[in-house]
């Protein structure tokens, strides 16, 4: 059993549905038709480009290419984490904290999975490395962005309480402890919920794709289970790291709350 190849006509039929949606949007005065068409166009171009890139890389398996693509994905994810925060750390810390946390968690987990669990040959085989890194980065990105945004917002809004606790003789670690833990929970809850709902409410995309491509369902499910474990671990480690670094940065060596490190 192998996948049925899609022809340009097939894609055009699917695209016709989106054009129909845009037309309906115009008739109902939703004002979304422009954005729908632009987004659909962007998606098409971006995915075709990545398809071409992947085809080239699969044809020329080389560590340098994989690393280059991985770094590009990491920087894009780091930029996204930064953009999703209303009040981020000033200077390089704003970009570096989220990006560094994703690098440590996603990259470490992916390399571990490739070399120890899946055992691909070579370990950086792009057919496995790039999709897995993509799934890990995408999920850790969401978790880290949520958690860091929550942390900096809370510090900003709860300044009076934090400083009151400092004035009563608590150290920064204690005075900020509950808020720090709450931010970590915020970052981890989505993946915990996704694990709980997997298979009942939603059929995860990766498994669906493998089944469509002709894999036996149980093989696809085993891969999905592994990926969910990796994502949960990667997100959790990344969130904890990003929050520890950020909350340390929010206080100075005399346990003063330094909101001037935020912008």
């Amino acid at each position: 059993m192998s996948v049925i190849a899609l022809t340009p006509l097939d894609l055009a039929l699917a695209a016709a549905l989106v054009v129909l949606l845009a037309g309906l949007s115009r008739r109902s005065k939703l004002g979304l038709e422009g954005r729908i068409l632009v987004a659909a166009g962007r998606m098409t171009v971006q995915l075709l480009l990545i398809g071409l890139i992947l085809r080239t890389i699969f044809a020329h398996v080389h560590l340098a290419w994989v690393v280059l693509i991985a770094l590009g994905m990491l920087l894009a994810a780091g930029r996204e984490v930064m953009a999703r925060q209303q009040r981020r750390l000033r200077g390089w810390w704003g970009f570096g904290t989220g990006t560094g946390a994703m690098f440590v968690s996603s990259f470490a987990v992916t390399v571990f999975a490739l070399s120890v669990i899946v055992g691909t040959e070579p370990w950086y085989a792009p057919q496995y490395a790039i999709p897995m890194l993509g799934m890990l980065l995408g999920n850790t990105m969401t978790g880290i962005a949520l958690a860091m945004d929550r942390l900096t917002q809370t510090a900003w809004q709860q300044r009076a309480v934090i400083e009151q606790r400092l004035l009563l003789g608590e150290n920064a670690h204690t005075a900020f402890g509950e808020m720090r833990r709450e931010s970590m929970r915020t970052g981890m809850i989505p993946i915990v919920n996704a694990m709980a709902a997997a298979g009942i409410v939603s059929l995860p995309g990766m498994m669906t794709g493998q089944i469509l491509a002709g894999s036996p369902p149980l093989e696809a499910v085993k891969y999905q289970i592994m990926i969910m474990f990796l994502i949960a671990a990667g997100t959790g480690f990344g969130v904890m790291l990003a929050i520890s670094v950020t909350s340390r940065r929010l206080f100075d060596e005399r346990d003063r709350l330094r909101l001037d490190v935020l912008r």
């Binding site: 009076a160 309480v161 400083e163 009151q164 606790r165 400092l166 004035l167 009563l168 003789g169 608590e170 150290n171 204690t174 100075d252 005399r254 346990d255 003063r256 709350l257």
Partner: protein, 207 residues
């Protein structure tokens, strides 16, 4: 012994500021809004970055962990914050030193021991302010930095707070820096008087 000394203190364009409050005495501090009174207290409590130094009995703040310094040189902010559900949970938060206040001390400010079970949400502004003072004293500080401690209180509670602070100061030989706009209160509570103006602090005769 709890002599509070401020040496060449500079913060936010104010200073250098120098003064000493002997143990067991109270100094009043006044000045226009925005002159930097609250910022001065925050700098002494080491809550804001500053140059110069503050010392308690010749021990500089930097010689102690910041949390220890703030327990000893305790600042009462103009507006208190409460974050747990009940009053009692806010007492003794930073170690064993801050147990619940004695019945006499509670009674002096018009409370019974049951107040410890009250919900924060039902407290009035004045009750919060009086409880914030009790919470501060429960940490057994050596020096007090009070930012308009009676601003939201009625006349009888103003008297009660003034007498509670005076008793604490005498019994514990504590030094007190009391920010107030009220000239009569300055005369009642303090033996030394300071005014902050144009970024400097200078001594004044009794108002």
């Amino acid at each position: 012994m709890s002599r509070l000394t401020v040496e060449a203190l500079r913060y936010h364009g104010c200073g250098p500021i120098d003064f000493t409050i002997a143990d067991g005495t109270c100094a009043s501090l006044t000045g226009a809004s925005g002159a930097g009174k609250t910022l001065l207290l925050r700098a002494i409590a080491d809550l804001d970055p500053h140059d110069g130094r503050a010392l308690l009995d010749d021990v500089p703040a930097t010689a102690l962990p910041a949390s220890t310094w703030r327990r000893r040189v305790a600042m009462l902010p103009a507006e208190s914050s409460w974050w747990y559900e009940s009053v009692g949970e806010h007492f003794g938060i930073a170690g064993a030193a801050g147990a619940a206040p004695s019945t006499e001390r509670l009674a002096l400010l018009g409370f019974t021991p049951e107040v410890m079970a009250w919900a924060i949400a039902r407290l009035s502004t004045g009750e919060r302010q009086r409880l914030a003072i009790l919470r501060l004293l429960a940490q057994s500080p050596h020096a007090l930095l009070l930012d308009e401690p009676t601003a939201n209180l009625d006349a009888s509670n103003v008297t009660a707070v003034e007498s509670l602070i005076a008793t604490y100061r005498r019994d514990e030989h504590a030094s007190v820096l009391w920010v107030t706009h009220d000239p009569e209160q300055r005369g009642r509570v303090a033996s030394h008087h300071y005014r902050i103006e144009d970024g400097t602090v200078r001594a004044e005769p009794t108002p």
